[in-house]
């Protein structure tokens, strides 16, 4: 019998703690595949965020650190500047990157840090119980927007990738979605390109924003959540290459 699909070595052989239909597992796998395909496991350092993916090091078999909420780009700066030959990536959620760590991501991009950022946007704080994130959609009901997000009170969904794309220090920014197989294949391509740029010594930050589902706090079935990414999220967060 011919093996056509198998676990990639950098993805550990264990079940994850993620909810059914959550996008983190797929995103982890894509990163692991890219690390193995580029053969960079032995020189890669990853940064896990505060949030649902805080235990990413339990699933990704690379050297990893877990840092304070929002600070991965600053930590990555310290790592990459002192170890230019290493491949440094941060894995950050929307609360981490777009809210509490807005200054850190902006300035790491602004300085043109040669790091790769995987930005998981599921429009909600997952680990703390489904509160509003900067990326929460208008009218979206969350634990802290019981009537739905209202623009005049909580502002509009924050498009961080568009913001970062204006900085000369970013070399590549693409927004993808893990909503259907074709989109997942595109996300893999984007993540691979982002890592390749760092491997090739590109002169700035590469970032891939990934729209993922949070069925638990969207109060949807996993399949409905995937549909909602397509029908609603991609309207506010258009897919495609924003830079580079």
């Amino acid at each position: 019998m011919k093996t056509v699909f198998k676990r990639t070595p950098t993805l550990k052989d264990c079940p994850t703690h993620y909810c059914p239909g959550c996008g983190h597992g797929v995103a982890h796998r894509l990163i692991a595949e890219v690390i193995d395909e580029l053969d960079i496991r032995g020189r890669t350092i990853g940064i896990a965020p505060v949030g649902c993916a805080v235990l990413a090091y339990d699933y990704l078999d690379v050297d990893m650190v877990e840092v304070a909420h929002g600070r991965p780009p600053a930590v990555a700066t310290g790592m990459k500047r002192t170890n230019p030959e290493k491949i440094v990536f941060s894995y950050q959620g929307d609360g981490d990157l777009a809210s509490i760590g807005a200054a850190e991501i902006l300035h790491a991009g602004h300085r043109g840090e040669q790091i790769t950022v995987i930005f998981i946007n599921n429009a909600v704080y997952g680990m703390t119980g489904g509160q509003m994130a900067p990326t929460t959609m208008l009218n979206q009901v969350t634990a802290t927007t019981p009537e739905g997000r209202i623009a005049t009170e909580q502002g509009y969904p924050l498009q961080v990738s568009e913001l970062l794309a204006t900085l000369p220090g970013t070399v590549y920014i693409e927004r993808c979605a893990l909503s259907k197989p074709a989109r997942i294949r595109q996300a893999k391509k984007a993540i691979k390109h982002a890592f390749e740029l760092q491997v090739d010594g590109a002169s700035g930050m590469s970032l891939v924003e990934v729209l993922t589902a949070c069925p638990t706090y969207w109060r949807m079935t996993p399949s409905k959540a995937l549909e909602w990414i397509e029908s609603d999220m991609t309207k506010v967060f258009p897919l495609g290459r924003l830079k580079g």
Binding site: R41, D63, M64, V65, G78, A103
Partner: protein, 350 residues
């Protein structure tokens, strides 16, 4: 050299691989000096967007096994407390210099000693300590830098060098030389890429039942060891003293002059100068309190170290405090006056 520049050069001699910092008075000479010297040495200098970012850059460099440091002054150090707690939790060696200024809030830019509580009690959240060195001259500051890096590496924890704005700005002649390192453990925990070995993880999150408690107990065991082995103080004319003045840092220099003048007046005065503020020289002060005498603690604050002096004296002798908060500096005459008053009152003046 001024204290700030001298400590920067001493850090370079101590093998500091990377400096990350954010401007704040009265320590701006440190990043300015580092921005020129670190690239000359082929090492890393980054001016961060905030103190929060600076301490996290230090965290990143340290996690890869590099010697990294930052410096700041009181308000900036408050911002860094998040990172210092994470460094303690992740067992990462780091050197942080606090060139203290007057507080609270934005305060002023004059030298002060009002961050003693914050420095010696941990400062951020959680049960942890940082080793705190409180040098009192530019030369001692220079000598503290390699020691700070060695202690950080040996015990895998943040070490703070706590000085005030006066020492940072003060010019004194110094001898700068490369010191031999202590025999230090290899950094086999460092994140260098998992080439031909298992994955390394640097973390401070421990969710399993009892795991964090066990980790905390491990930290406390280490702190106990440090409290035994790494405590330094300097005594002066203590043996026959009726009054012992306890002071650290720049205040100890002023106290030294006041004590000498008191001696000339026939007052049997001496001083004890803690060099490590944590661990505090509790035993040394406790021993001194076994004789009948008075303790006077002098600080550029409203009374912080005096609590440690009281804990050490443990009721065996009176402990009096004299301090100048908010950037005030006590003069020799002021301290001498305190010494005179206390020795007259207690009628033990010769």
């Amino acid at each position: 050299m001024c204290g700030n520049e001298a400590l920067a050069e001493a850090a370079i001699l101590a093998g500091c691989d990377a400096y990350f910092g954010y401007p704040i008075t009265p320590q701006n000479e440190v990043p300015a000096y580092m921005s020129r010297r670190m690239p000359e040495e082929g090492r890393v200098f980054v001016q961060s967007e905030s103190e929060l970012a600076a301490i996290n850059m230090v965290f990143g460099a340290s996690a890869t096994g590099k010697r990294a440091m930052t410096s700041s002054s009181s308000p900036g150090i408050s911002l860094m407390q998040e990172g210092i707690s994470y460094l303690a939790g992740a067992e990462l060696p780091t050197v942080v210099v606090n060139v203290m200024r007057g507080g609270p809030g934005l305060g002023n830019i004059a030298g002060s000693q009002s961050d003693y509580f914050q420095a010696t009690r941990g400062g951020g959240h959680g049960d942890y300590r940082t080793i705190v060195l409180g040098p009192s001259s530019v030369q001692e500051l220079v000598d503290c830098m390699p020691l700070a890096f060695d202690l950080a590496d040996q015990y895998r924890m943040p070490v703070m060098v706590l000085i005030d704005g006066i020492l940072g700005q003060m010019m004194e002649p110094v001898i700068l030389e490369k010191k031999p390192r202590r025999s230090l453990p290899t950094k086999d925990w460092a994140l260098t890429g998992a080439a031909n070995r298992d994955q390394n993880i640097v973390r401070s999150l421990w969710l399993g039942e009892g795991v964090l408690e066990e980790f905390n107990n491990k930290l406390q065991d280490r702190y106990k060891q440090i409290a035994k082995k790494e405590v330094w103080s300097e005594p002066y004319n203590v043996d026959d003293a009726d009054i012992i003045v306890v002071a650290y840092g720049i205040t100890a220099r002023i106290v030294s002059s006041a004590v000498d003048r008191a001696r000339k007046e026939g007052i049997r005065a001496g001083w004890i100068r803690p060099i490590t503020l944590w661990p505090f020289p509790t035993e040394q002060i406790s021993k001194a309190a076994d004789e009948p005498r008075i303790f006077l603690t002098v600080e550029m604050s409203n009374g912080q170290m005096v609590e440690d002096v009281k804990l050490a004296v443990a009721g065996k002798a009176p402990v009096v405090f004299y301090g100048r908060p908010g950037g005030g500096t006590p003069g020799v005459d002021e301290i001498l006056d305190q010494i005179r008053q206390l020795t007259i009152k207690s009628e033990i003046r010769t």
